[in-house]
Subunit: 511 residues, 2 copies
Amino acid sequence: MKRLFLLIALILSTLATEAQQRPNIVVFVVDDMGWMDTSVPFANKVYPLNERYHTPNMERLAREGMKFTNAYATPVCSPTRVSMLTGMNAANHGVTNWAMPFKNQNSDNPDAQLGFAAWNINGLSPVAGIPRTAYATPFPQILKEHGYITLHVGKAHWASAGTPGASPHNLGFMVNLAGHVAGRPYSYLGEDNYGNIQGKPYDVHAVPDVAEYFGTDTYLTEAITLEALKTLEAPIRNNQPFFLHMSQFAVHDPYNPDRRYMQKYLDAGLSQIDAMYASMVEGVDKSLGDIMDYLEKKGVAGNTLFIFMSDNGGLSLAYAGRGKAHTQNLPLRAGKGSVYEGGIRVPMLVKWPGVVRPSTVSHFPVIIEDYFPTILEIAQVEKYEVVQQVDGMSFVPLLKSPNKKAAERALVWHVPNKWTSDDGPGINYKSAIREGDWKLVYHMRDGKLELYNLKADLGETTDLAAKHPKRVKALATKLGQRLRQWEAPMPLFKSTGKPVPMPDEVPQSIN
Amino acid sequence: MKRLFLLIALILSTLATEAQQRPNIVVFVVDDMGWMDTSVPFANKVYPLNERYHTPNMERLAREGMKFTNAYATPVCSPTRVSMLTGMNAANHGVTNWAMPFKNQNSDNPDAQLGFAAWNINGLSPVAGIPRTAYATPFPQILKEHGYITLHVGKAHWASAGTPGASPHNLGFMVNLAGHVAGRPYSYLGEDNYGNIQGKPYDVHAVPDVAEYFGTDTYLTEAITLEALKTLEAPIRNNQPFFLHMSQFAVHDPYNPDRRYMQKYLDAGLSQIDAMYASMVEGVDKSLGDIMDYLEKKGVAGNTLFIFMSDNGGLSLAYAGRGKAHTQNLPLRAGKGSVYEGGIRVPMLVKWPGVVRPSTVSHFPVIIEDYFPTILEIAQVEKYEVVQQVDGMSFVPLLKSPNKKAAERALVWHVPNKWTSDDGPGINYKSAIREGDWKLVYHMRDGKLELYNLKADLGETTDLAAKHPKRVKALATKLGQRLRQWEAPMPLFKSTGKPVPMPDEVPQSIN
C-alpha cells in the first residue's frame, strides 16, 4: 500500500513538474525589417545605419541572449512564412513568391522572355488536394497536439482566401488575432480604422479584430501588442506552455508615422520618410520590450525562449522613397526580393535563460526552415508525424554552444518568379546556394553563374566565378541536385516552351 | 514519511479530479429566433408553425434535457447580450437598444413627441470611464480567471468600435472567431465572401475570420460551426473545462437561402421567403446537432452543460416579407422589438447529463440576466468580485428540480427607445413587468397601463387593467421602484424637457 501511494505521488509530481518545465516559446517576427534597421550591429562593426535607429529592446535582447550574424530568410514574405511553419525550403514547398489575397491569382509579373513557373500560388495548406498549395503539417499543429497553447497575433499571409490555409486556426493556432489573407495592413493608423472605413471601397488589407482602437491614435503595432498580452493571460495563469507567434505588420509599407517617435528622428535630421520608417522600427522595438516586460512581470520570462527575426531583407526599391535604391541595407547588397545578402540576411536574436549565455554571438549560418525542428526540439516533442520532407536542421546545439563546429551544409534560395516589373540586383529569376563562405548566384534568364566569398566580400561586389571554375561547378551541381530533388518550379522559355535549365545543366557556351 | 506521501498523493489526485469535474459549458445562441420557429412546441400544444419547421436537433436536445416554456430575453439584440454577460437587467445596465457599429451614434429613431433617453449607446465596457457604456465585469472574464478556456464564435455585438467592449478579448474571451461590431452579417453566402467583396464599398457587416470559405458554397452558419469545433480541440485534448459562446448570426436578416434545406420547404408549399427562413432555421439546427455530435464523439458530452436559446423574439415587421406583420410568433403577440410576449419570450433548452433529467419541462419564468449567476454556479466559482449590481438569479435549483416552488419574483423589461420609425404593437417607448401570471405593460407616450393574465391569455388579447386597478397599481409601483433604483434611462417630453414619468407617477387623469 505504501509503495502504491509512493508510486502515485511520484507519477503525479513528475507529471506536474514536466508540464511546468516545457518552455514557453515566443517568435517575434518583424515584416520587411532589414539587417541594418537596428542599433544592434549584426556586421563586424557599427555602421551609420546602426547609429540611425534606436532599438533599445533589441539591444537588451542581444545582451540577454545570442546574436546570429548569419541568419537567413527567403527574399519575400510568404516563402519565409511557409518555410518557418513547415521546415521546408522554399524550393521544396514551392511557395516561391507571395500569395495573393484571393486564390488562383498569380503575384508574378508577366515577362516577355519567360513564362510562369508552376509555383504554389495559393500558399500553404494543411489539407491535401488543394490546387497549387504546399501540403504540409505546420508545427503549431504539432505543438497544439502536445499541450501547447498556440497563439497567432498579427500578420498571417500563409495562404489565399478560399483555401484552408487562409485561416491560422487550420495551421494549428488556437487563437488568431488580426491575421488575414493580405500581406500588409491598409493603414497603421487608428484614425483610419486600420482600413475599415465607411464610404471607401472594400480593401482586403483592412485589419480585422482591432475595432476597439478605431478612431483612436493607437498605432497598429501598439494595438496588436496590447492584444497579444491579453492572449497570454490564460496560459500563464493556467501554467500551460504557450507558443506565441507575434507577427508584426510593421515595418512593411504603407509608411505611416508612429507619432510616438517621429520628432526625435526629424530632429536628428532625417527626411520625413526616413523618420517615418525609423519611427516604425522603434514602435516595433517598443512592442518587443513590452512583451519581454510582461513575461518578466508575470514571472515566466525565465522559462521562455524568445526569438526575434525578420521575414526578409529591408525594402530597397526606388519607389519606397527612402534614399537611393538598394542602399538601405549597406554593407549588404540590394534588399527585399533579392537573393543577394540584402534580401535574405536578417537580424535574429535568441534569448533562452539557463541555456543561451548572455551576450553571445553565433556566426554559423541558420535559415528559416531550421525553426521547425528547433522549436519542436525545444518543446520536447520527440515523436511526431508530418506529411512533408523537413529540410531544416535544429539549431539547438548552437544555442547551447555557439562556437560548436556544426556539420557543414549548403543553404539554398530559389526564386523562379518575377517579383518586380523590372529586374533589379539579384531580383527576379534567381537561385543561390551558400556553402561555408562561398555563395553561387544563378541567373535564370541568361544562365550566368556568379561566385562570391562572403567572408572577404560581404557586399558581393566581386564575382570570382572566372577565377574558381571548379568551385562554380561543384556548387552549381549541388544546387541543381537540390532543385531536382525538390522538383522545384522553374519558369519556361516562351520561345521553346521548355523550362529554364538547372544551374548545372546550363550549356557550357553560355558560361 | 508514509503519511507525507499519502497526503501528497491525496492532494494531487483531488486536484486532478476536481479539475476534471468542473463541467464544460456551451451556450448556443440563435439570433432573432422566435418562440415558434422550431418543431419543439414551447406552447401547450403543437401549432401550425411547429409543424412548418424541421429542427430534429432541437427536439433531441429537448428529449435529453429540460424545456423552459417561460424563458425571456429582451426585445432586441444588444440589451440581451449585455444582460447575459453582466447579470444586469437592461434597465440597470442601460443598453436598452442595439449598439451601433461605430461609437457615439444612437440607433434610436428621431421622434416628434419624445427626445432621446440617456441610454448607453456604446454598449458594454469592462473598463470604467468610457462614455455611454455599461461598466461591468463580464462572466467570461471570471471563468477565464478560474481556469476555463473561454471561446466566442459568431456574432458579438456587445459594444461599438472605438470602445474596449468592441473586442470579445476584453470581455474575457480567450478566442474570438468572427465576432465583430455589427449586429448582422452582410451575407451568409460564401459566394459573396460574406461581404468581403472587392469592388464594392466597405461594409462593417462583412464577417471576419472566414476567408477560408470565400468563394465556396459554405453557408455562414456551417462555416462558423466548423470553426467552433476547431476551437474545442485544444481544451478537450488538454482536459480543461471550456465555455463556448456559440453565437449564430442566423436567423437574423438578410435572408439568404441555406440551399441544403431550401427545396424541402418549397416542396412543402412555402413561399420563397418563408422557405428561405425555414432553411436558415434548419441550418442552425444542424449546427446545434454537429456540436452535440462532436462533444459525444470526443467523450465530453457527459460533462457538458448545453444551453440553447434565442436573443429575442422572431422578427415580425412587415418589411421582412414573411406573411402578415406580427403573425410570425402566434400564438404570441407581436415580435422582435416588442415587450409583448412575441418580442421577449424565447425558446430555451438545457441539457446537463446527470443533473437535468431527460424530457423535463420547467414553466418557471427565467430571464437572460439569470445566465450570469447560473453559469458561475455551474462552473463552481464561489467567490468573485464584480463592479456591477447583479440582478439575475441562478436557475440551477430549477435544473435540479424543475417543479421546485421558487421564490416569486418580478421580471422587468424596459425600452425607452424608438427602435422602429413607426410604433408597432408593444414596440417603442414601453416598459413591462411580469409577476406570476400577471403582466403590466406601460406605454410611455400616453401613460397608458395594460394588464394581462398570461395563464389565461397567452396572446395578450384582453386588457384587464380596468377590471383590476389594485393589481395595476401594485405592479406599476413595483415597476417604478425598480426603474428608479436602477436609474433607468427615460425619454424626455420635447414639449417640457422633462422625462417621461415613471409608471407609478403617471397622473391619475391619464389612466
